[in-house]
Assembly symmetry: C2
Homo-oligomer: 574 residues x 2
């Protein structure tokens, strides 16, 4: 038999970015981490975008040039000297590279600007505080000198949360403030500094017997897609939600207490499991995105973990409607909840079957044989975690419900594939960007009764643009509803075009009754829509709190949560 000619494969970048290069800043995730489109996905992209191999021969805007920054620091020598004296020269930086690096997150807008050499808004000084005492002094000094203070956790913000609109300083929390402060196995809590990163945090809990002298192994239960490059503090202040949130809860539910340093005072909230002593300060602070003060430590709930009890399952549904109805019945079933639970709409299913290695396997043939039609069929994957009988029953009940809606069980194999690549999927972005395509996401919370209207409304807008991919999944479930996560891919190189397109999607989400954000937060990107979304009276409450904590508006100023700036300024159009 003749071996089939291996077809063309683009020269995807497969080496870490050069030190000091622009690419080293905008590249998502680990410098040496890559996930390239596989052959099937590559073919699909060419087909969708009417491209051919020639379009994948020349990369552009790779960002291999060194970082430079036109704007000189706006702090005067006396001020910089104050920081140097407090922290030592090793813990401050005015280098162009550091100033740009710690002023940018991972939005498509920031990536495009960095690639294309469009100036971004940077801080005047990068500061690495060593402990909360440093932060206390810094916040006090900055409040006196009216120096804006931005806070950088893991750097994965996709809402322009790190953008230094007003210059000032950026506090980098992960450099030093990444310690475990205490561990309480009796209460099943751990207290950590806010700069501790996801993998370090989870690893300590998984290895609690060895590392903390604990009796059991634990999990934090929080696995956002940004897990590798996000911090516990970032999870809290942006109201993150992990991929197992359906069982473990959103970060909002997981945080027992927090310690804050604000311009008007420092405090640690109560850490009772429940209390009826008035409005809960702990909850007032969650989601404040650095605009009230600096989160320096938090006490979190942890969970006993027995990975050997985990059950995996995947299904193919005949339709999206069936997948949604089954999900609702599962979440309202009163038999416990799955940990991971995801349903993909037909367009995402089509691509997921390629990405997760199902297409071309016997499972794939069986799916087609059984009559589950492409662009109608929907993939569902999930896991159950907890005690052994509990997970067995959760899986059993889910199977029963899914079958009722005509779904076919396709084993736990697709889940294993998904688990394997779960944090790597975003790495595809760089490959697409290198050849003139954008890939971005917007996500929204929704009640069950509004899900289809919202899905259709947003999809319609995205699909109205020719040659544009729109994949949607729901991945965080509640008895009252879920989220919708829209991923859109298009050939696009104009930042202006991109921003207008993105704005259109946000408008559609708002108009169709979705939450402006389910778990990415608001930052400066969604800020302009906040007042319309929650109404003036409720914005006034947030502004009253802002004014209480930060009367001089030094904490993450410039549009965060839509608290300051007028509408035109907020939008920040190019």
């Amino acid at each position: 038999m003749m071996k089939k000619n291996k077809s063309f494969t683009p020269d995807w970048i497969n080496t870490p970015p050069k030190a000091g290069s622009v690419r080293s800043i905008f590249k998502w995730g680990a410098p040496d981490g890559f996930k390239h489109p596989n052959h099937r996905l590559y073919e699909a992209i060419k087909e969708k975008f009417n491209m051919n191999d020639n379009d994948f021969r020349h990369k552009r805007y790779e960002g291999s040039e060194p970082v430079s920054c036109d704007r000189k620091t706006g702090l005067d020598n006396r001020q910089i000297e104050w920081f140097r004296e407090l922290l030592g020269p090793e813990n401050i930086s005015v280098s162009d590279y550091d100033r740009v690096k710690y002023s940018t997150g991972k939005t498509m807008e920031e990536t495009m600007k960095l690639r294309q050499g469009v100036p971004v808004e940077v801080n005047d000084l990068v500061v690495h505080p060593r402990n909360k005492d440093d932060i206390r002094k810094i916040v006090s000094f900055c409040n006196q000198e009216i120096i804006p203070v931005y806070v950088y956790g893991g750097g994965s913000s996709v809402t322009k949360g790190l953008q230094c609109v007003k210059g000032g300083i950026t506090l980098v929390m992960s450099t030093h403030m990444n310690r475990v402060l205490s561990f309480n196995e009796t209460n099943q809590t751990i207290t950590v500094e806010s700069g501790i990163m996801g993998p370090a945090y989870e690893s300590i809990l998984n290895h609690a017997p060895e590392k903390l002298g604990a009796e059991y192994r634990y999990t934090g239960g929080h696995f956002p897609q940004s897990f590798e490059y996000s911090s516990v503090g970032g999870w809290i202040v942006t109201l993150g939600s992990g991929q197992s949130s359906t069982y473990y809860g959103d970060m909002y539910d997981i945080v027992l207490s927090q310690e804050y340093i604000t311009p008007t005072g420092n405090f640690r909230t109560l850490d009772f499991p429940a209390t009826a002593t008035g409005p809960k300060i702990n909850d007032i602070m969650k989601g404040s995105e650095g605009s009230f003060g600096v989160l320096v430590s938090a006490t979190l709930k942890i969970f006993k973990t027995k990975p050997e009890n985990r059950r995996r399952f995947a299904f193919i549904f005949p339709t999206w409607e069936g997948a949604v109805d089954a999900s609702r019945e599962i979440l309202q079933g009163e038999f416990g909840k799955p940990a991971v639970f995801r349903i993909s709409d037909p367009e995402e299913t089509d691509i997921a079957l390629k990405m997760y290695g199902i297409e071309g396997t016997p499972i794939s043939s069986l799916i087609s044989y059984k009559g589950y039609k492409p662009m109608r069929r929907c993939l569902c994957i999930g896991t159950a975690e907890g005690e052994k009988n509990f997970t067995a029953n959760v899986k059993k009940q889910i199977k029963k419900i899914c079958r009722k809606y005509g779904a076919m069980y396709i084993t736990g194999y697709p889940v294993k594939n998904w688990e394997h690549g779960r944090y790597r999927d975003p790495y595809i972005r760089e490959d697409l960007n290198d050849f003139g395509m954008i890939i971005d996401t917007l996500e929204t919370g929704v009640t069950w009764d509004n899900l289809h209207r919202l899905h259709q409304g947003v999809r319609e807008y995205i699909k109205n643009r020719p040659e544009t991919i729109c994949m949607t999944h729901a991945s965080h479930f509640y008895p009252q509803g879920t989220n919708l996560y829209f991923i859109f891919i298009a050939r696009m190189e104009s930042i202006k075009e991109y921003l207008e397109f993105q704005e259109g999607i946000i408008e559609r989400i708002e108009e169709h009754g979705g939450s402006l954000s389910h778990h990415h937060g608001v930052g400066k990107m969604i800020g302009p829509w906040m007042e319309r979304h929650i109404g003036k009276k409720q914005m006034d409450i947030l502004r009253a709190l802002k004014n209480h904590f930060d009367p001089n508006n030094i904490m993450n100023p410039g549009g965060t949560l839509g608290l300051d700036l007028d509408d035109d300024q907020k939008r920040g159009r190019i």
Copy 2:
């Protein structure tokens, strides 16, 4: 055989209080509802308090006299006329009876004062708003005229939440504003006016197929001991917790969204199951106890209910320590949670075995035969609710853990008895009061690692007083801790002595690291300790919110949540 002489039974009051009498105001619960101490409990009381039958021959301070109120209304004719015009004469009242009735809750202090004819602080006018439009006009008028506004739900406050320290008006929410506004079976939510009472609310949900055209039956999952005489609005603004909260969550968890009318504006919070759009206004308002504004309606999560799946269980533990350790292991077991779950300390167990009809039965003999010692052994009762396999497994896991800690399974029989009398236990208060005894409760939230210290510290204080009963149970469980509910009984007729004793208990709770309240709220009773408890910086946050919503301090003024009044004024000593 000779029939044994029936021993003396006190002439417990067994007829509803006279219309217009003081007793008709202070009596707990249904006018025609009674629960008298049974024979075993009566004997135990005499023994504990060194009393004999003669002490139970003459009742005092029965409150059969008609209500009168010295203080004339402080509103002028023009103001009263304004209310009459808005609402009609049938919806306002300046009668002494109504003014006193709607100015008092069910604290021991208020009861003692009413019984002994000590003046209580009353409003100037009782108002029954018909809808939120009435309330909007009323709040606006009162804000303009600086008339204090108090809000009365079901009247069961045990924190002086209803006390009209500054006169003004009381809005009675339950008269008209008790409607179901909408029901959404898809989202499993119901929207009700805040004045709807517990039994009406639960009954509608239980009978959803008949009353709402629903497919399934539902429960609200919230069953506080005050269930019969408390309102949904009251549950929310005081952060109530029901007897099945371990499974269904506290009221805090159950409320999806709320609508408020405040002096500075009216709004309805978002009702997404989750959203990452900054600090959640919905949560900022919970627990505000009428001091920010008037809660006019709320959307609540509801739960599918299948009473036939309910499993009941009861155990006797050899020790309190064992009961606590088992409870902790159960709550941290990741197999789902029980609905009702209660453990009683040795002194409460002793009385519970009498009250719930266990003493004198074969179970009781078996308990003793097996060596579970009085004043060491502890009773545990509970239920599991939800899907059939789920409840079977919860019960199975609980049994396994309890046995590990040496507990004996004593069937579900004590739970049935407890369920039968669950709302009636407080009715015993009137009988004891009639013969010069007080019975009162204070409750607190606590983390597992501090439970014994808190329990012992508070118990020690109470037991230091001679001839004083102190019963304690934990009844609301979380993986991180639970609550402690202290019930104290003593011969006491001096209000001053009572207040000093109560103050001592609150001090002990605070000193020993308990929350000032787990589910009764703060009201004006606990207010004086708030600042010490949460610290000045966190009180400042609550005060900033108060000032934002209610700059003229007309909403529930006079010490609520400790927001106004200086310390001496707050304590309100007699």
